[in-house]
Symmetry: C2
Subunit: 465 residues, 2 copies
């Protein structure tokens, strides 16, 4: 495998980093990257390079990378495009182990020859080069962060199991911001822009072998090495789930993609067929990408398709039953006699013992807990959907805390649906941080459970995807 | 029309209100309703009724409504179900003009006879009765608020043009909370629960004639008077848009709806056919209900289906082009030669003059403003979609302020897509309050524009719905 794929370890776990193009101006890209290293608490060696400066923030600045005379795992390049090939040449001479080029101004604006010149030099020295026209990489474990976006604009995620791969910087940064806002954690973030050299194949191969990555989530505009992609696709989903959003599904989108990252989007139908055959989970929108990422990151394998819905709002229970009814494989389970009897004793007389179980608008954390702890042992129920509407009088922080406690003991997939503004958002973040995937509509919740189920059926040999 | 439909004016614009079942306990339903009247600043006459109290919060408490001896427009009843019929009888004797029964414990738990007894009494006195098992009504203009949900749990909306009708209290309160969180305003909120007497027909008829209502948004579990509904449906969409979410689409959902509000959901296909024939906008989920409500509340009629996309993130532009490409009637417009020339002069050389117009990751409010002000006069462009990713370096509060300014001068529909966490949310609320509908994904934005276009085409005689 080593020969076919470029080694991204020095890029994601660097012991030393050089930033080329650091400026004194705090609004310049190079300076923001430097500040983010400081903010992230990167503890490896950090070198700054700028032809026109001697010192920035009290740190020595080198004229050229060749002056450093130390081993450098990663070079981040943030200078105007025309100067990049010469600097890559210097990186080669300095025996740098990997390069991220964040600068734009290459193939995406027609400068194909300039881009090729840069790649040829990197290839000559056998250095993996990410970009150009990209945000680069982030890894909250190694505290590497090449993003040129200030932290007040885009929150950084906590440590977790989701690795996110995006060709587009904007899509990538949006997703990164959403992930951190939702409170679930990140393993790796890789934005690879024009994919001039390192491409989705190298990245997928790296993430497949990366134990810190539990689920791979990809935004793709095009695939360059189709044969290698299929070869990888055969293997990766046997090891971990891969969620993919492919842009350029339509003619309008494909044509826009060509202008954006100089990608040939290819036939969407052909891509989709490959994704389905090899058990990729297909997202149709950015929000679906996020929904699926978080369910794969936290939930165990469901034993079957039977869902129990527990709710403090009847109408939302009905809508969730509809979402289950419209899904291809999900089922509304029937409580076993034993469990139904137990629930009848525990619940107030106004509560009908049926699925969805409507605990009524005055339900408190005790009633939720009685219901869920009973249902989680029902052999007829494989997955739990808890609707917690914090608008009702009995739902408060005690309910959120109780659900987190139950979740930690649950061996079945268990997710929550909560919808609302401030008061609800506070509790959503609390529950997400406590390890519960929280959804903002019945349809997103059920389609996520369905994606989870379909993936594990695929692994068993039943391809439902 | 008067004879067929019950008059809801005294319920929504009451000059005097009596609350029956007010308690000293601040957590009891009757007390929360009373507190909400105080909070809302209701300025009409307010009477409290409780058999067992003489005074609450320094206000005189009557033993019975018959003791008040004043004209009462609205009676809110919040006492246990078995006592309700006798109190309705007293309301009749006191010549009350309308009743809202928030108490549960009627047909939804099998107490059909008790419910019928209550309705018979209301009918005898010809009093419109809303509920039981409902949240009741809210109108930020008349400051009426019968909801028994505390304001810290569920924010109250500002004054606006959206009237929201829900059979389910939980769905209603969730939507109300979401509406207020999004920052767009409400005309009326009506939660009618079991629909024992006043039903969707009465409510629709009232809202059709209500000038404060610009768009009607409904969550339905079942329709009881089919013939009258069809008669109304023929008329209402000629006057204003109606967005409908019908629960019980599937067998699972229909069966849950029956248990919830004792509704017979009927065949969804039959309902859908009626909705389509008469130009209702069909939502498939709670989130769609909200997306469509806000576009109808703020946007003018589009002259045609041609969209221009302006973005600071290429990838999000591609996904939006895909959403347009997959929609039935929306088109990605081609800039007129004149506009293209003007843009070429105004934009930096790295910006390709094509649709989607990718302003690049360093776009600031000036570049946005140059682009949008040029495009809004293009005869080839009917609608504007502005993607503002606040994660990029140049996008900040100046951009939000500039977009609000441009929006106020735009005669074409113009919406924004912004996705992200805290920093973005702040700007989303700012823009929503400034009159711009903001969407959190390309697909929700485009499907909303499509709903807007289809409705106005329906009004012109082209039924695309």
């Amino acid at each position: 495998m080593k020969n076919k794929f470029r080694d991204l370890e020095p890029m994601l776990k660097p012991k030393s980093v050089a930033i080329i193009g650091v400026s004194r101006d705090p609004n310049k890209v190079g300076n923001i990257i430097f500040q983010n290293y400081v903010n992230a608490g990167y503890s490896g060696k950090l070198y700054l390079v700028n032809k026109n400066a001697e010192e920035i923030n009290g740190i020595k600045v080198y004229k050229s990378i060749t002056e450093i005379k130390q081993s450098i795992d990663l070079v981040v390049i943030a200078i105007p495009a025309p100067f990049v090939p010469d600097v890559v040449e210097e990186c080669g001479k300095a025996k740098a182990k990997s390069i991220v080029v964040v600068s734009g101004g290459f193939a995406e604006v027609g400068e194909v020859a300039l881009q090729q010149k840069m790649v040829d030099i990197a290839n000559k020295y056998n250095i993996p080069l990410l970009g150009p026209n990209c945000l680069g990489v982030m890894d909250p474990r190694s505290r590497i962060d090449t993003l040129f976006l200030p932290t007040y604009k885009i929150s950084r995620s906590s440590i977790g199991g989701v690795s996110f791969v995006a060709q587009s910087g904007a899509v990538g940064s949006t997703i990164l911001d959403l992930i951190s806002g939702e409170g679930f954690g990140l393993s790796k973030f890789i934005s690879y822009g024009n994919a001039a050299q390192v491409d989705e194949i190298d990245i997928l191969n790296y993430l497949m072998h990366d134990d810190e990555t539990k689920v791979v989530v990809m935004y793709l505009e095009g695939i360059k090495r189709g044969k290698e992609f299929i070869e990888l696709a055969k293997t990766i989903t046997k090891i971990k789930p891969v969620v993919v959003l492919k842009a350029g599904r339509t003619q309008a989108g494909a044509s826009a993609a060509k202008s954006h990252t100089a990608s040939l989007a290819g036939s969407y139908e052909a891509h989709e067929a490959v994704f389905r055959q090899f058990g990729f989970t297909i997202a149709n929108d950015l929000s679906e990408l996020l929904y699926y990422a978080k369910i794969f990151a936290s939930e165990p394998m469901p034993k079957g398709p039977n869902i129990s819905v527990i709710t403090d709002g009847g109408g939302t229970g009905v809508l969730t039953a509809d979402a289950i009814g419209s899904s291809q494989h999900m089922k509304l389970g029937t409580f076993s006699d034993e469990v139904a009897k137990k629930l009848r004793k525990l619940m107030p007389i106004l509560v009908n013992i049926r699925n969805p179980l409507d605990l009524a608008g005055d339900a408190d954390s005790k009633r939720y807990s009685d219901a869920i702890l009973t249902l989680k042992d029902d052999k007829n129920i494989d997955m739990l959907v808890v609707i917690a509407l914090f608008q009702t009088p009995g739902a408060d922080s005690r309910l959120a805390a109780e659900l987190i406690k139950i979740k930690q003991e649950s061996e079945k997939p268990m997710i929550v649906i909560s919808m609302g503004s401030q008061y609800t958002t506070m509790h959503k973040i609390m529950m997400e941080s406590g390890g519960i995937p929280v959804y903002d509509s019945p349809s997103s919740a059920i389609s996520s459970l369905s994606a989870l189920y379909d993936y594990y059926e695929f692994k068993k040999g039943n391809n439902y995807i």
